[in-house]
Amino acid sequence: MAEIAERTGSFLEGFDAFLRSAASRSPERLQAMRRSAIDRLASTGFPSKRDEEWKYTNISPVLERVFAPVITSQGNGVARRDVDRFTFGAVAWHTLVFIDGHFSRELSTLHPLHDGVIIGSLAETIDRQFEAIEPYLARVTPHDTDAFTALNTAFLRDGGFVFVPDAVAIESPVHLLYVATGGTGAHMVHPRNLIVARENSAVTVVESFVRISDGVCFTNPVTEIVMGPHASVEHYKLQDESPDAYHVGSIHSRQGRDSVYTSICVSLGAALSRHNIVSTLDGKGAECTLNGLFTATGTRHVDVHTTIDHLQPNCSSREVYKGILDGRSHGVFNGKIIVRPDAQKSDARQTNKNLLLDGRARINTKPQLEIFANDVKCTHGATVGRLEAESLFYMRSRGIGEQTARAILTKAFASEIVDFIKPDPIRAHLDSVLHEQIEHMGEAMIPGGA
């Protein structure tokens, strides 16, 4: 028991206060969900490195700290101009701004919507029309999925809610912008996003996690994506948090027949970040693409765990993840592909390529295939490399300095993923953020072995 207590950190303490504060506005079903989530957490605790799924990621730094929940939003004096630089200049987009986890209507930009479409704050929707949410909430991601999902569910309150009815295509992307002010002391936020794309609908959703100033915080988001037949969802997640931040989040999608889901997850910031991306192909002919890029410098740690679960026949999945690791940073990539007995004619391809810019940087990469059907195509490959000496010399022989040559080659490595991004504003933004980050990589370099 002592061990479990150790591995629940200080998270249970703030819960009662949170539950009381939320009680007046919350339906009983939601309160019950929160209670059972905290019970599950209290009984099982957080994973340790003995847990296979957490073998290479030590979450003790998160458990050892005390993070205060941000129960009500004071807005923290954030003005529109403070958040403008995070909106990619995309004024036509539906932008929902969350300050330290709480929706801010004043800072958000909401455009007129098609009949039946809902784009708004989860908290507001819970208060006004819980029945719109209830059929979907915590269905793709039940609270007992894992400890961090339980934690998120226990503190579930705000986030983005996107509902697209049958046969509606939302033209402008929906941007869920999570801004950490860095000014509230060590705090935690548990954003919960719910995206429902009904039959034949289409939508692009962008989640970004950014900070106005550096500071210690723990971000624990969960995104659920429910897709009907022939629906199409393009989903982007961009994590660029403070170097003192901790980020442990999940994205769970469940797809209907012939639906198309594209996920691009880019992780650039935080001291420690972990992304669980679970994609369930639960309808014949569904397609999913999970692409992503992670970078880390200094002593930072980044971990991407993806699971693609082929439940039904004739589905295809494509996955390309790239990692760039500098300094003494540590990366983890685990790509699980499950092909269930019924999922004949599944076609799955997975690639993970990693670039180590410093002899001290490390990566643990592992494909994990669990195939229970016999008529399937499944390929995977992982590489770990350094910048090519030949390419560096070629560039230098044309007058390009060594540091610049390294930066150009590193950016070129990342460009395959950046080029997957369809909306120009995100691509341009990412280009410049990456440029800035990569320019400083390898500065205190220790050359690696051969």
């Binding site: 022989s397 007058g399 070129a412």
Partner: protein, 253 residues
């Protein structure tokens, strides 16, 4: 312009250059010929500053400077250019981006203003004609998926844009059909001038019909064993390298 004295160099612990001497003046074209494995590319790489090629003796003075002390990029900025025997593919970096970055580094070094996109493009258009290179190649990643001939053209195209003072062409003729060879040689000839020098490294004399050298040197087993005028190339074509080998052997006996 370039003075090489007693240059010795080893690769992977093995001595390849065993005392090379030669002098190149502005306006001259020197051919360096020799059988495969004689050390021609090694010499070219040592001059360009490739890592892993360890100079164990001798000196190289370029425009009054100790060339061997300079980082590869500084040599390039000072006007040394190596057209690679095997040009490197760089996926993800467009040819235009690469060349503009190179040119601007060199211009900065020479105290010239950097070119903006517009000026750069008009310069490129002008230079494209010199080597008759397909404009589409410019927007593709550097050498990625280029045919052998396209890679060689691209090297000479880069040379045309960067305007080096000393160009070293390493087997630029290998793998080219006769038309491509003519075009490339024509391009190189257009870049000849009284203030520039060219070293043409080859093991066939074929290219030397089109780029006529002022001097021909024979490199054998890491040493220049014979030098002469352009007629030496013809003699080599007729009699082969064995002839030089025997002659040199006879002299040293």
């Amino acid at each position: 312009m370039l003075k090489i004295r007693g240059l010795r160099a080893s690769v992977g612990g093995k001595e390849i250059l065993k005392g090379v001497d030669m002098a190149v003046n502005a306006g001259e074209v020197h051919a360096i010929m020799g059988p495969n494995g004689s050390g021609k590319s090694t010499l070219a790489h040592v001059l360009a500053g490739r890592e892993g090629y360890v100079v164990t003796g001798g000196e190289v003075v370029y425009e009054g400077k100790n060339l061997l002390e300079l980082a590869p990029e500084l040599r390039a900025r000072e006007g040394v250019f190596l057209a690679f025997q095997y040009p490197v593919e760089i996926p993800g970096v467009s040819n235009t981006y690469f060349l503009k970055a190179s040119l601007n580094e060199i211009r900065k070094h020479r105290g010239l203003e950097e070119l903006d996109a517009v000026d750069f493009l008009s310069l490129v258009r002008q230079k494209l004609k010199i080597v008759d290179i397909d404009q589409d190649l410019l927007n593709r990643p550097v050498n990625a998926g280029f045919s052998g001939g396209e890679k060689k053209r691209n090297e000479i195209f880069q040379m045309a844009v960067l305007e080096p003072r000393l160009a070293i062409l390493d087997e630029t003729d290998s793998g080219l059909d006769i038309d491509a060879l003519r075009t490339i040689a024509g391009g190189v000839n257009k870049l000849r001038s009284s203030d520039k020098a060219i070293m043409v490294v080859t093991h066939y004399q074929r290219l030397l019909h089109y780029i006529v050298p002022d001097f021909v040197h024979v490199l054998l087993d890491g040493r220049i064993v014979k030098s002469g005028g352009k007629e030496l190339a013809l003699e080599l074509e007729e009699k082969g390298y064995d002839w030089v080998q025997e002659e040199v052997g006879a002299q040293s006996r």
